[in-house]
């Protein structure tokens, strides 16, 4: 399978759409169930992946009940487990994989990057009859919650399946999507020790308090990098985000081994993962405090979710012959020319 194109859609365009398969996640955040109260669930196979961590939080129990009522088949997995997600998919998708076309909805608002990256990779690599698959990714933004002191890192490294062994000694270029916890980005930069570093952060955001927190808690890093290495992107405008990210990666890829590290809002993480599928030599890293991570209430924001529809198709020629010619600029990951207004 290869990535054909991707579109940002308005929520009204998917509200009544019929999906074959729906993935949701249940954790302690209030926004977990938000999307499913307003979309068409009829006829879809509904899979719920619930966190093994923090499963006694009141909101989590509430969410589980709601999902059960909505008819979701429930499984559990650890926050960073790649293997558990594959096992779940193997269990539930046997029939689905016989289809030629597939329309899937993934609400990644409460999923970890490992989970949704694995779902994508599964469809790309699993032997199946599928010729075309559309995956609609939905993200429900949350109301601003004050940042907490970061917990110690348990994991800092590539997302399983989103990295490649290489045979060159290219220096590393680190591109981070900053979050608002203090100095996480700077810590990653010190650990990875790249030759060059760039940072993205969302501005404008749904709530400018978020921007203030990002700038305050990354002030040292932002000062080190200087204006030329810092990019701002509007949270709800995937096209702009993708365009900035893709242009930067294209300018760096011949000279550097690129590492994308989305530490902030999930739409940036999704863009990063999709970009690495388009350009497999790009790695995507994550930083995680694992089950000791901070707990944020994250109530849903009263607005429409941010929707990204991604189309994959079976590659017509064996992938190993698809050599990327560095001289030939490949088209950037396609977005529709006419996009809806950003959510902001």
């Amino acid at each position: 399978m290869k990535l054909k194109n991707a579109f940002q859609l308005d929520f009204s365009q998917i509200k009544n759409e019929k999906f074959d398969l729906i993935f949701a996640a249940s954790g302690y955040e209030k926004r977990c169930t938000q999307l499913f109260e307003k979309i068409n669930l009829k006829g879809a196979k509904k899979i719920l992946i619930a966190f093994k961590e923090k499963d006694t939080e009141t909101q989590r129990i509430e969410n589980d009940k709601k999902f059960k009522k909505l008819g979701f088949e429930s499984f559990t997995a650890k926050e960073g487990s790649y293997v558990e997600i594959i096992d779940i998919l193997n269990k539930v998708l046997e029939d689905i994989l016989t289809k030629k076309q597939l329309n899937v909805l993934v609400d990644y608002s409460c999923m970890t990057k490992v989970w949704y990256a694995t779902i994508i990779n599964y469809f790309l690599n699993k032997d199946s009859n599928i010729q075309n698959i559309n995956i609609t990714f939905s993200y429900t933004p949350s109301v601003f919650a004050e940042p907490q002191d970061p917990m110690p890192n348990k994991y800092m490294g590539p997302i399983p399946g989103i990295y490649t062994i290489s045979a060159s000694n290219k220096p590393t270029a680190l591109i981070m999507g900053l979050g608002y916890e203090k100095d996480r980005g700077k810590g990653l930069m010190e650990y990875l020790d790249p030759k060059t570093t760039f940072a993205f952060y969302t501005n404008p955001a749904l709530d400018q308090k978020y921007v203030t927190a990002v700038e305050k808690n990354n002030s040292q890093l932002l000062s080190i990098l200087g204006k030329s290495n810092v990019f701002k992107y509007p949270l709800g405008d995937l096209r702009t985000t993708d365009s900035l990210l893709t242009s930067l990666c294209l300018s760096l890829r011949n000279k550097y081994k690129i590492v994308l590290a989305p530490l902030g809002p999930k739409p940036f993480a999704l863009m990063s993962i999709l970009l690495s599928i388009k350009f497999p030599e790009i790695d995507v890293w994550r930083v995680s405090a694992g089950d000791s991570g901070n707990t944020y209430p994250r109530s849903p924001y009263l607005g429409d979710p941010i929707i990204c529809k991604v189309c994959f198709e079976r590659a017509s020629i064996p992938l190993q012959f698809k050599i990327i010619n560095p001289e030939k600029k490949e088209p950037v990951f396609m977005m529709p020319k006419k996009v809806l207004e950003p959510v902001l």
Partner: protein, 601 residues
């Protein structure tokens, strides 16, 4: 330092060999490395291992503009193949590779293919360098013949026969390997399910490399007596099978291939697997231990070269940084004489410290006039010199208070004890990357047009900021934590416990002539804490004081360490090694064990 990334200021990993040569400063470690034998460089992150390894390659040697360069080029009797370890080779150990946990055999094969492909790639680069620098004029037909041979022997897909295209084909091999891994992970459930049809999966890096070298020498009719050195850098990141194999290979004597390896001070492999150092194997330990002053001159040379770069002429470091009264070896006599700075410091402390008063009386030194008279001159070495740093620190920090934001709120005649050229040479433990970062940060405060001393306060600020930055790096190291019940112990928290313990004893406690400032990792320390302390050794956060003599160290248990001197401004302890104490004592005697809320970033 505040405007720089801590490690990136000068990291040879990012530089081409030619760029490394531009700023390379020769030292005794390099002399050891260029000998015609197996060599292992051991040292913490940033101590300059990569610089030395890259300085073995022909592009670096031929770009090096130094009076010694010509003779060293003639002296080196091997062609270096520089191989940088990639963390992704470790297909079994790391959590991102747990995706292969169901396939133990396959994951080992993947790891070997990754290593072999990288060795081939580096070998091609070395062939290109030898052709460029040593075989002139090069003959294209010979390169074609070599490339054809490599394509056949390394089972590469057909490509144009030249070395550049062979390297491209090796890159494509890794693409193919990556796809194979993904297909396997999603479509197989155990090793037995996996189909491996490509022959390249079973190539061995050593025998294939040796064969390629013989082919090269035959085709280019190059010097058959010349050896080839496989220079594996940063081996501590490599998979265990490779570490075991390479350290075991150091036993071989009749070799075409030499090994130049670099790794962390403590090896992870089993002690039985490593060769014993001797005539054919040299160990180079790249950190100061014992009473070694090994890196003083090296550090001074670096500082002088940075000053020359800044001011475009030779400048005495003392003019810019001044001299530190505690560490200075100059004007010793006047310092201890009546009216001298140390004389005054001793009198000042003796008035309020009954412990010092008792000690001086016991040693028959007059607390009101501890000058070097005929009667106490002999005491200079045995008492006064020894107590000098403690006296200064007690005088300074007992009156020192910080507000909640960590700002000093009581001013004194000196803004800090951390300034001066001696501090600069000592505080970095021979780590050039730290030294360059600190000097460049201090020099930012200097005016290019006037060569004058940078204020002690400015210097002290940089030392303090550097210590904090280093501490922040320690905090971000992944998995440097131990979880017990509801508590999390972090490496940074443990180091703070140790630093605070020494501060309380040296500065705030009863006056001792030989207080504790080092620790032995005793049997009470559990394995999980050993694991994170080993990470501290690799980062240079704790320094091994008593490494095995001319032998590898495999375990940190029962070994003696001190905190990196870089932490000294943060924990307010002198740049000096005192008596040892069991580590467990510094941790368990605390009233409170570090809790989760205390130890987070």
């Amino acid at each position: 330092m505040s405007t720089e990334s801590f490690h990136s200021t000068f990291n040879a990993r990012h530089l081409q060999p030619e760029e490394v040569a531009e700023t390379f400063i020769h030292n005794t470690d390099y002399e050891e490395l260029i000998q015609n034998n197996h060599t292992v460089l051991l040292g913490p992150r940033g101590c300059g291992k990569t610089t030395l390894m890259k300085m073995l390659t022909l592009p670096a040697l031929n770009s090096w503009n130094d009076q010694r360069a010509k003779s060293i080029r003639q002296q080196i009797s091997f062609n270096a193949v520089y191989i940088s370890t990639d963390i992704y080779w470790n297909a079994q150990k790391d959590s991102y590779n747990k995706q292969l946990s169901k396939f133990p055999l396959y994951s080992e094969i993947v790891s070997k293919v990754a290593v072999t492909t990288n060795v081939f790639f580096s070998l091609c680069e070395s062939f290109e360098n030898v052709i460029r620098y040593q075989i002139k004029p090069s003959n294209q037909k010979q390169e074609v013949e070599l490339a054809k041979n490599l394509i056949k022997e390394w089972k590469l897909i057909p490509t144009i026969p030249n070395l550049s295209m062979v390297k491209e084909a090796l890159k494509r091999r890794t693409d193919s390997l990556n796809q194979h891994i993904q297909k396997t992970v999603f479509n197989s459930s155990m090793d037995e399910d996996i189909k491996i049809t490509d022959e390249y999966f079973y190539l061995d890096f050593h025998s294939s490399t040796e064969a390629a070298i013989f082919t090269f020498e035959r085709i280019f009719k190059s010097d058959k007596n010349c050896k080839w050195a496989l220079c594996f850098d940063e081996l501590e990141l490599a998979p265990m099978w490779l570490q075991e194999r390479l350290f075991n290979s150091l036993r071989s004597r009749d070799q075409k291939i030499l090994y130049k390896l670099s790794s962390s001070p403590i090896l992870s492999i089993s002690s039985e697997l490593a060769a014993t150092p001797g005539n054919d194997l040299k160990l180079v330990k790249m950190w100061p231990y014992g009473n070694s002053n090994k890196y003083h001159d090296f550090s001074e040379t670096i500082v002088r070269s940075l000053l020359k770069k800044k001011f475009l002429k030779n400048v005495d470091p003392e003019i810019i940084f001044g001299s530190n009264p505690i560490l200075s070896k100059m004007h010793l006599q006047s310092d201890y004489e009546k009216g001298g700075q140390t004389w005054n410091e001793i009198i000042q402390l003796a008035k309020k410290d009954s412990g010092l008063m008792r000690l001086l009386k016991k040693e028959k030194i007059d607390p009101n006039n501890p000058s070097i008279s005929a009667s106490n001159k002999v005491k200079l070495d045995t008492v006064l010199r020894k107590i000098k740093p403690i006296v200064y620190f007690k005088n300074y920090y007992r009156n020192y208070k910080e507000d909640k934001q960590g700002r000093k709120i009581r001013s004194r005649k000196s803004s800090s004890l951390f300034y001066g050229k001696e501090v600069l040479y000592k505080i970095c433990d021979g780590n050039p990357r730290w030294l360059i970062g600190i000097v460049e940060s201090i020099l930012k405060k200097a005016d290019n047009s006037s060569i004058s001393k940078i204020s002690e306060a400015s210097q002290a600020r940089v030392f303090h900021e550097t210590a904090e930055q280093f501490n922040n790096i320690i905090k971000t190291i992944p998995s440097a934590i131990v979880e017990r019940k509801n508590k999390i112990y972090t490496l940074a928290g443990i180091l703070k416990e140790i630093g605070d313990y020494f501060f309380k004893e040296i500065v705030m406690g009863e006056f001792e002539m030989d207080p504790h400032s080092t620790f032995i990792i005793d049997d009470s320390i559990t394995d999980e804490f050993i694991g994170i302390l080993e990470k501290a050794v690799y980062q240079g956060a704790i320094v091994l004081i008593n490494p095995s003599e001319n032998a590898f160290d495999f375990n940190i248990r029962k070994k003696r360490f001190r905190l990196s001197y870089l932490f000294s401004p943060l924990y307010k302890i002198p740049l000096r090694t005192y008596a040892e104490i069991p580590l467990s004592k510094t941790l368990t005697e605390k009233e409170t064990i570090p809790t989760q809320t205390k130890l987070i970033l």
